[in-house]
Amino acid sequence: MQRIGVFVCHCGTNIAGTVDVVAVAEALKNEPGVVHSAEYQYMCSQAGQDLIKAAIKEHNLSGIVVCSCSPRMHEATFRKTAAAAGLNPYMVEIANIREQCSWIHKDMASGTEKAIILGKAAIAKVNLNTPLTPGESPVTKRALVIGGGIAGIQTALDIADAGFPVDIVETKPTIGGKMAQLDKTFPTLDCAACILTPKMVDVAQNEKIRIFSYSEVVDVRGFVGNFDVTIKKRARYVKEDICTGCGLCTEKCPQKKVPNEFNLGMDNRRAIYIPFAQAVPKVATIDADYCTMLKTGKCGVCAKVCTAGAIDYEAKDEFIEEKYGAVVVATGFNPISMDKFDEFAYNQSKDVITSLEFERLTNAAGPTAGKLLRPSDGEHPHTIVFVQCVGSRCEACAEKGKEYCSKICCMYTAKHAMLTRDKYPDTDVYVFYIDVRTPGKAFDEFYRRAVEEYGVHYIKGMVGKVSPEGNKLKVQASDLIAGKQLHIDADLVVLAAAIEPDKSARGLATMLTASMDTNDFFTEAHPKLRPVESPTAGVFLSGTCQGPKDIPETVSQAGAAASKVIGLLCKDKLTGNPCVAQSDEMMCNGCSSCERVCPYGAITYSDKEFRMPDRTTKIRRVASVNPAVCQGCGACTVACPSGAMDLNGFKNNQIMAEVDAICKM
């Protein structure tokens, strides 16, 4: 049985005005376990707290009930008070007799009666309280960033800046991501490479950062502060530490017919290649699918020309195991496939391209060395039609595209249109749109310049059909404002394809037990208040893996994620909230219901051997909760049919005791 002290606060007249506090203190005196009951003007004042501390010591109290304002106001205060007097802070319960009583009830009699009942409920609960101690777990002071695009790069740099080691895992041979493929960036039109490549160099030169390029995460175990990650380094057949990146091999390689993915297949590269000049790491990679040597054993040209002797045809995939305290997901996006959009003749005509392909066509390092030429015949296009929202905002065509807005297309299309008119004033540029969305700093001004200064024809309406005829593309479209059908003979059609999360995200989410939405974007812990954290503790989100974003947004989110990571890695130990779920292994059935409802992946199962009362042993599958990961929502406690799962601080018997006390009238 507990020794409980009850402390009724007047809160000046806030409570005492409509609740007879003396009567409350008196009425609660005889409740089970209560050995002391007092009232005071302001319990939260220093004097009030001293009074509580003195009573705890004098009466050797094992628990206290403070009848005062909302626990959301002063629960923390009174817990500290209790702790100062040597009482476990979780032996404190608050009866909210201000917000839920004195402030809303005008009648003294009913207010007092209710206050007494609320006090009794708190007493009933504290009678069943047990001292709780927050669990502690150490923190591995290293972060993992999955994805080496601008989001990953920025996060890694920021974390490294704070002094923590960071590893970047990138599936491509180089970091840089999508931004490396872009030409200019809106709305300032600075060249993407000019602002990105210095950052890439920073990464390469930063002692705190390791880059695992051409690599992927294949296994994640553990929890916040203590992730054990396995990284697969795919064999690139070139020794990274020896290759100087001179590029001689990439010139001599006889296998010339490999579609160059960096240029989206619009030109070819060799079987041994460096994706682009500023690649980081600047190391060649042999494409095993095309290398004659690896396929037939006959060639070896690259090995012959490599003066450094970096070529290694015998290389194997390597698996690296590393511990991390935090994981940042920055897996980015891809444009969706245009295969299902037959109406735009993407697969029928080379001159129907996506916006990202257009970026490469206008990029000085691209297949046309920056000259805007038609992919089919290398001629200058004179009429270009841009189609917006291809696969975005596609409510009716969810099986083809996406229901959401891809957010970046309006701006980059304006950029493309403007740049085209700037360089090639003789070109007619049409943009078909549903809406033009420009909610960003200097965005709308940018768009208006395209229309007003550069004379881009913006037409509200959808393109119905693109049909290749001779060397022209017949574009059928509607002009919703003019209310008429348009027929345009275009030379080039550019599709603003919707973007979607990278395909690797789904598997990664499963490994991390991080939740995703139906579009495979990672879910944030709270859409407003915790936008860069996954609900799974220790997993953070950076960039478009969480939702469509432009570069400025991505970089700011990347920084925000980094600051969260730094906040975590700064700690030597993680102190948990002790009000977490706990599984009684003797009663657990191992049915997995709790695991399935846990939003944090805090529950794991293992086979354990139990000694039965009849002295036999039995192996059973039982759940255990990782207190460092559990956030204490209690979803598992109701999913559990046997009641093996209970929630500290809000145990079944505590809540039922409160129910009983309230209903006992």
Binding site: N30, M612, P613, D614, D660, C663, K664, M665
Partner: protein
């Protein structure tokens, strides 16, 4: 012996119900059930009720006492009250014998259970001979005469009349009070019926079952029999057999917190339940095999040992009909009997 013609049965019931509650077996959704007689309550055609008459004397749940608590103080409140008089009509021979089995525990073994005694003193049993026993009946195994049941008033129902014979003081008084609507009768019709019943009893499929192998002092013989493991292997550990059994009397005493104090009540418990013997420092019957063995050893060995050879099974057949997995005392007896013959 008195008789009343069957068409006046309602008159008889009405007359009895004038001065006390009368319960007769009547049809209901669950099967036949002792129902408080009111005008129109009809006697069932079923052989027997789903549950015996035990419930009237030892109800599934009954309040024993109350406690009021204030601070450190406790007040014990005795809530026992004189029970109302009641009559049970139509109890079968097996169920009436079951009351003797219970009496041995609650009345004849010190200390007397006053709750049971109170009900027993106020209840009158009018038993009814069975003319149509069914295949699960084996009361004869335990020396019970279905043709001539025990009780306060023994009744025989023929095609046209109900014959009543008072065999106890209470029964005589009740039957006397009915004298104006009943008439004297000779024993001819009853004797004929008894002969018919006796003949029928021999034709029952379980007529050959005997208790010869069992009884007090046989603990050692059966306790470690390998049959227990096999017999109990599919036992679910539910309490169906116990709760439909007219002689099972295990109970639990529990406290219920009311809004005003604590009510201590007693309720049926089952030795088949895994929690039955579980206490703070362990459980001495941990496996279902041990619990299963306890139930049948009690009926066939322990009880007879403590009660002059009387078995605590009356062959009513309820467990045969109700066990979810169809394990029952007959199967147990036959299996153990076999080992007895084989090993000894």
């Amino acid at each position: 012996m008195r008789k009343i013609s069957l068409d006046k049965l309602d008159l008889l019931f009405a007359k009895i119900a004038e001065n006390q509650s009368l319960y007769i077996p009547s049809d209901s959704v669950e099967g036949a059930k002792f129902t408080k007689w009111t005008n129109g309550t009809a006697l069932t055609n079923e052989l027997n009720t789903v549950r015996g008459i035990k419930d009237f004397f030892f109800p599934q749940s009954e309040d024993l006492m109350k406690f009021k608590m204030q601070g450190k103080n406790i007040e014990v409140i005795d809530i026992r009250d004189e029970h109302e008089d009641f009559v049970i009509f139509g109890a079968r021979a097996c169920d009436v014998r079951a009351m003797t089995v219970l009496d041995n525990v609650f009345l004849h073994a010190e200390p007397v259970d006053t709750y049971y005694k109170n009900r027993r003193e106020h209840g009158i049993i009018m038993s009814l001979a069975c003319t149509r026993p069914v295949e699960t009946c084996f009361c004869g195994t335990f020396g019970i005469d279905a043709a001539n049941p025990e009780g306060d008033i023994v009744c025989h129902k023929t095609d046209d009349a109900l014959y009543m014979n008072a065999v106890s003081e209470k029964g005589t008084a009740l039957l006397d009070s009915l004298s104006d609507i009943t008439e004297d009768a000779d024993t001819k019709a009853v004797d004929e019926q008894k002969a018919l019943i006796k003949e029928r009893m021999t034709k029952l499929p379980l007529a050959e079952l005997t208790t010869d192998a069992f009884g007090g002092g046989k603990t050692e013989k059966f306790f470690d029999s390998p049959e227990w493991a096999k017999l109990s292997e599919s036992c679910l550990g539910c309490g169906t057999c116990t709760f439909v059994c007219p002689t099972c009397q295990c109970y639990d005493i529990r406290d219920f917190k009311t809004n005003d104090g604590v009510v201590r009540y007693r309720c049926w418990d089952s030795c088949m339940y895994s929690q039955f013997t579980r206490m703070a420092h362990g459980n001495n019957r941990n496996s279902q095999k041990e619990r299963f063995r306890q139930r049948f050893m009690h009926k066939l060995v322990y009880y007879p040992e403590n009660n002059n050879g009387m078995f605590s099974c009356v062959g009513c057949g309820r467990c045969l009909a109700k066990c979810p997995i169809r394990m029952n005392i007959v199967k147990v007896m036959k299996a153990l009997e076999g080992t007895d013959n084989g090993s000894n």
